[in-house]
Symmetry: D2
Subunit: 358 residues, 4 copies
C-alpha cells in the first residue's frame, strides 16, 4: 500500500497516469445491495470534465466510466468495484519538448528524485488527471453517504482574490443544484462574475489564479471519527491536503481561532442545540451533528504560458514557456474532487462507527 489507497473499511485505490491508456479506481468495502449504475458515476465525472468554463483547458475527454466488477443486476454485491476510464485524448507527442525539463510548481523534480526514473508525459501520476479516478470512487461513496442521510456540497468561496458573500455560503442556504448550475460553482452570482473577469485577465497575461473551495456536510450524525490519530478532522485534512493543488485546510473558524478567546470560540449548548458553530461540526475529532464546514486553499495552476526560470534534468538553466491546453485555475474543476474526498472519508467513518456500537 504505497500510498495509493485511502480508507480502512471503505477503501479506494487509484491507478493510472495522465498519458497512459487509462486511469481507474478500486472501491473496496462498499456494502451490498446499493443501487449503482454507470450513470451515477458519470454525473460526477462530467462536473470535473475540462472545457466547461473559461477556467478550463480545451482538452476533450469523454471520461466515460466502465464498471467492471462488484455490481450485479444493478446493485452492489459487497465485492470490489473496479472502475475504468480510458484516456481518450492523450497526445503522446505533446510533451516531447518537456522531456528533460523540470516544470516549476510541478512534481517533475520531486518524482525524479523519488523514483530515479522520468515519465515526462504531462505529469504522469502527479497529473490532475488522477483525480478523475477519485471523483468516480467518490460517486460510489456518495451513494452510501446518501443512505446515511448525509450530503456533501462544495463550492467556490474565493477565486483570484474575489470572495463570495458569506451570507450566501451559510449551510442552510446552500442549494447544490443551483451551485452546480453556476459556471464557477459559486453560490454568489455577483462574485462569480468578478471571478470570471479575473480569469480572463489572467488568461490574457498567460498566467493562472488560486482560490478557496468551501465544503459543507449536512446531516452528519454525531459520533463519527476515531480517537486519537484517525480523528474525523485529521482524516478530512489528510484527504484534502492529498489533492495536488491544496496548500491549506481549515475546519470551522479555522485560522481565525488564533485570534479568538475561549469565550468567543466555544460553541454554547442549549436544550435546542449549539448556538454557534466555530468548531465546524467536529469536537475532539468527532462529529457533533452540526454542519461540517471545511475550507481548502488551492494554488494557481503551475503550467503557465509566461516565461519561467527553471532547469533540466542535467541541472542546466532553461527558460520555459509551457504550451498546450491548460486550465487557468483548478477552480471549478477541483470542486467535485473536494466533494469526492469528503464523501470517501465520511463513508469510511460511517462504516467504522457501525462496528463501535454493536
Amino acid at each position: 500500500m504505497s500510498g495509493n489507497t485511502i480508507g480502512v473499511l471503505f477503501s479506494v485505490t487509484t491507478w493510472g497516469e495522465s498519458h497512459g491508456p487509462a486511469t481507474g479506481a478500486i472501491v473496496d468495502g462498499c456494502p451490498p445491495g446499493i443501487d449503482l449504475a454507470e450513470r451515477d458515476i458519470q454525473g460526477a465525472l462530467n462536473r470535473r470534465r475540462p472545457g466547461l468554463s473559461d477556467a478550463s483547458s480545451s482538452r476533450q475527454e469523454a471520461d466515460a466510466v466502465e464498471i467492471l466488477s462488484g455490481v450485479f443486476d444493478g446493485r452492489t454485491t459487497g465485492t470490489p468495484i473496479s472502475l475504468l476510464i480510458r484516456n481518450k485524448d492523450a497526445r503522446e507527442g505533446e510533451y516531447d519538448a518537456l522531456e528533460e525539463v523540470f516544470r516549476p510548481g510541478h512534481g517533475d523534480f520531486t518524482y525524479f528524485h523519488k523514483y530515479g526514473v522520468r515519465d515526462h508525459r504531462g505529469g504522469g501520476r502527479a497529473s490532475g488527471r488522477e483525480t478523475a479516478a477519485r471523483v468516480a470512487a467518490g460517486a460510489v461513496a456518495a451513494k452510501i453517504i446518501d443512505r446515511a442521510g448525509m450530503s456533501v456540497t462544495a463550492y467556490t468561496k474565493a477565486l483570484g482574490g474575489i470572495v463570495a458573500d458569506a451570507s450566501l455560503c451559510v449551510a442552510d442556504m446552500i442549494d447544490s443544484e443551483k451551485i452546480r448550475s453556476n459556471e464557477l460553482c459559486c453560490p454568489d452570482p455577483e462574485a462569480a462574475a468578478g471571478m470570471l473577469e479575473k480569469l480572463r485577465e489572467a488568461a490574457r497575461n498567460g498566467d493562472s489564479l488560486g482560490g478557496i473551495v468551501e465544503i459543507v456536510v449536512r446531516g452528519c450524525p454525531p459520533g463519527l471519527g476515531e480517537p486519537v490519530f484517525d480523528k474525523l478532522d485529521a482524516d478530512l485534512a489528510g484527504a484534502l491536503m492529498g489533492i495536488g493543488t491544496v496548500k491549506g485546510v481549515e475546519i470551522g473558524a479555522g485560522f481565525e481561532v488564533a485570534q479568538m478567546t475561549g469565550s468567543q470560540a466555544n460553541d454554547p449548548m442549549t436544550p435546542e442545540g449549539f448556538t454557534s458553530n466555530h468548531a465546524g461540526g467536529i469536537l475532539a475529532g468527532i462529529s457533533t451533528g452540526q454542519d461540517i464546514v471545511i475550507r481548502v486553499a488551492c494554488k494557481p495552476i503551475a503550467s503557465i504560458a509566461k516565461a519561467q526560470q527553471t532547469v533540466d534534468i542535467h541541472g542546466k538553466p532553461v527558460v520555459l514557456n509551457v504550451k498546450g491546453r491548460h486550465d487557468v485555475s483548478v477552480i471549478p474543476r477541483i470542486v467535485p474532487v473536494c466533494e469526492a474526498m469528503v464523501n470517501i472519508v465520511l463513508a469510511d467513518h460511517w462504516l467504522r462507527q457501525k462496528a463501535v456500537r454493536v
Copy 2:
C-alpha cells in the same frame, strides 16, 4: 486499529486517559542499533510539562518516562519500544461537579454520542494529557530523523493576536536552543513580551487565547512522500489536525496561495537551487529538499472560568464555571507536540523511501 495508531513502517500507538493510572505509547518499527535512553525522551516531555510558563496550569506532573521494552544495552533492538508514563497528580474527585455536564468546546458531548458511555474525569481520552505519549514517541522518532540528517523545530508564531516578526522566523535563523529558552518558545522576544501581557490579561478575565505554531524541517532530502493519498503534506496535515487543539494546517504560502498568480506562486529553479519556497518544501506531495514550513492554528483552551451556557447529559440547561487548574493557552505546551507529530511522520516516510529505491 481503531484510530490510536499512526504510521506504516514507523508506527506509534498511544493509550491512556487523563485521570487513569498511566498513559503511554508503543513505538514499532524503530530500526535497531540506535542509542536510546530515558533521558533522551525526558527532555522532550519536560518541555511539554505544565507549570513552565504563565500560560500553563499549576497541575504538577513529573511525567517520568519508563522504557519497558525494545532497548538493550542502551541501544534499540528493532522490537517494539513500550513507553510508560504514570499519572502522578490525577485528583479523582476534582471533576465530580462535571459528572453530568457537557463542557463547551470539549469532547464530552461527542465522546458520549460516539461510545454511549461517560468518562467525565477531565476529558478522559480526549484530554491534552494524551499528547504526553505522543511527545515521548516523537522523541524516539527524533533520533531517527537526526540520523537521517534532518531536524524539526517548532515555535510560537502568533498568540492572542500578536504575531512574531517574520524576519526572525526564517528557517536559516531559527535556533532551537534559543527558542526553547524563551518562555513562550517564540523566536521574537519582543513579540513574546506582548504575548505574555495578553496571557495575563486573559487570565484575569477568566478567559483563554488561541495562536499559531510554525514548524520548520531542515535537512529533509528530496523524495520523501508517497503518491497519491500518502503524500508527505497529506500525512503531515492529518497528523497535525489530529492534535485536539488544531483547526487549520497550511504548508508553505498556505492560504495566501488563494490570492496569488501562478507566476508569483511557482518557485523558479536555477542551477543553484530554488529561488523561493512558496511550496513549503513539498511539491506534488513529495519533499523538494528545501526547508519544509508548516503552520497550524490552535484554538483557545476550552476550559475557562467565565460563565458559559451549556447542557447536561439529560439535556437540561446549565451555567458552567469551570474550576480547576487549566492553561490559558495551549501555547507553548503544544509546541513540542507539533514537533513530535512531524518527527513521527518524517521517520515513517524516511523508512518507507528506503524500500522504494532498492
Copy 3:
C-alpha cells in the same frame, strides 16, 4: 480494505467476478526501474489456463493481460501497476439452472449469508477465476524476487493418493523447466502417470480429486519476516490458506513435528551451515537462509457430475447434478497460483527488510 488487498509495502488488490466483464489486479509498491512487459505476465497466466491437461475443464480463456499503468518505456515507474484480464468465454446463461441452488462445497451458501445478495453466475467472486488476477500480480512479484536472488518453484507432491517420490522433490534437484513441462507439474514422471490414471477414473465416475502441492523457495537471504504476528511463516500460511481450495498448510517437517523429539527436530548448525532443515527455512518466523519448504493440502473440486444432496435459497431440498465444464482437480492449475502467493509474500517481506537495516 475489505479483504481484497494483501501486503504492506508490496501490495496486491484483486477484483472481478467469474462471469463479469473482466478481472484484474492493482500491484502497488513495485520498485521503479524493473523491466516489465505483458509477456512476462502472460507466461504465468498461460500455465494457469484451463484445458492444458486431463485435469482441466474445456473452458477456453485466452487470459490475455493488459498493463494499464505503472510501466513506461518497458520499465516500472514506482506507481501502481494496473493489470486487466477480460473474461472472454463467460457464458451468462450457463448457470441459470443454479440460480437458487446452494452448490455443496462452494461459497454460494456463505456468500449469501454474508452479503444477503446472490450472484449465482459460476461462483462470482468466490470462483477460481479470481486466481488469474493473483497469478498476474505474482508475475510482477517474481521480477522483484528474481532481482533479490530468490526463486520460487511449486509442484505436485500428491494427487488422488499417489505421492511423488521424496528423493525427486529435494530442492537441489528441482528443475522448474522440467516440472513445468510435465502435464501435472510433477517432478516424478512415474507418479505423474499414476496420477493421470486416477484423474481419468475420477472423471469417468463424475467425481473429482484432492492433492498436495509443495513449494520451494531457493536463495532466500536470512532475516526476512517480522515479529511477532507478521512472521514470514504466518504470512505465507495466511496467503496460501487464502486460496479457496486449500485446507492445510505446513512448513518444513510440518505435522510430522508432532511426533518428533527436540533432539530430532532441531536442525544442528556447523561452520558449514545447517545439517538438516526440519524448520523448512524459517526459525522464529524469520528466514534462515536455507530453502523454504511449504506444503498445502488442496481439496477436491466441489463441482462434480455425481448427484448430490443440497438445498435451495428457500431451504427446500434439491438433488444436484452439476453440469458444465469443470476441472477434475485443481492440480495442476493451482500450482502457479501457489507460486504467485509465495512470490507476493516474499516481495513484500524483502522490501520491508530494506527499511529495517537502514
Copy 4:
C-alpha cells in the same frame, strides 16, 4: 506496524522481551460497555503459567496483569486497553553462558541476521514469554466473542505420538471446564495418562516432545470472513502459524482432503443443515455456521539438556547443553495461546461484519 500488530478493527499490539522489565499488549477497537476486570484476564493467564504440569518449567511467574487504560467503572470505554505484566522472575545472569551461542531451533540465529544486534537473554522478543501478552489480549477478545454467542475451546489432541480418542473430541461433547481441569488439557483422560508417561520419559532423556492442539469454535454465525485475502481461514491460519512453535495448520478435514474425492469431501446440505463438516465450518473463506475445527502442529521445545551441535556468533563450532528451567513440551501451556489467537481473529471478523450489513 512492523509486525507486532494483528487485526483490522479489533487490533492487538504486543511488546516486551522475556528478560526485560515487563511485557504487555494494547487492545484497540474493543466496543464500549463490556464488563472487564483484571480477574477476567488473570484466569486465562493462569492457565498459561509455567509450573502447572510435568510438562512445564519451574520458572515462577505470577503473571499478574494490570489494566492501565480503557476501562472505567468496570466497563470498557471504547478507547485502547493497555495491559501490563511485570516480569517477576527474570534472572538476568542466567543466560550469560549463551551470550555468543546460537541455540538450535531458536530464533537466535535469525534475529541476529535480521537486526544485526544480539539480545541473548532467553530469546528476547522471540521467547514464548511474549505469548503472555497474547493471552491477556485474547481474554478481552473472549468477552466480545461471548457477547456474540460464540465460544472457543482448545485442547490437546496429541502429544509425543499419543493421540486422543476422536470420539471424545467431537465438538458436541467438548466440555471446557473438564478439559481445563485435566493436567494436559486433554479431553481423553486415558490418552492423557499415556502422554504424561511420554513426557516423563523425555524429561529423563533431556529431550522434549511435540504435539497437536485442536481448537473448536461453537456458535459462530454464518457470514464471518472477508474475500479474498482476509478469508476467515486465512486469518486463522496466519494467526496460529504466527505462534512460534507452530509448523502446520489445518481446517476441518485438513490434509486428509488430499486423499478424498469430491463426493466424499463435499458436505451435503439438507433442510436440517449440513450432514457432515469436512469443511471445518468455513466455505470459500466464510463461516458456514457449523463448528469451526482447526488443528495445529507444535514442534518440540527447542531448549533441551541433550548435547547439541551448534555454532557461536563468530561461526565457531560449539557443543551446547542448555541449562535452565525449560518446559518439556509447549503442551499444555500453548493451549490458551491458541484459544487467544482464535478469539482475537473472531472478534475482529465479527466487528468487521457489522460494517458489511448496514
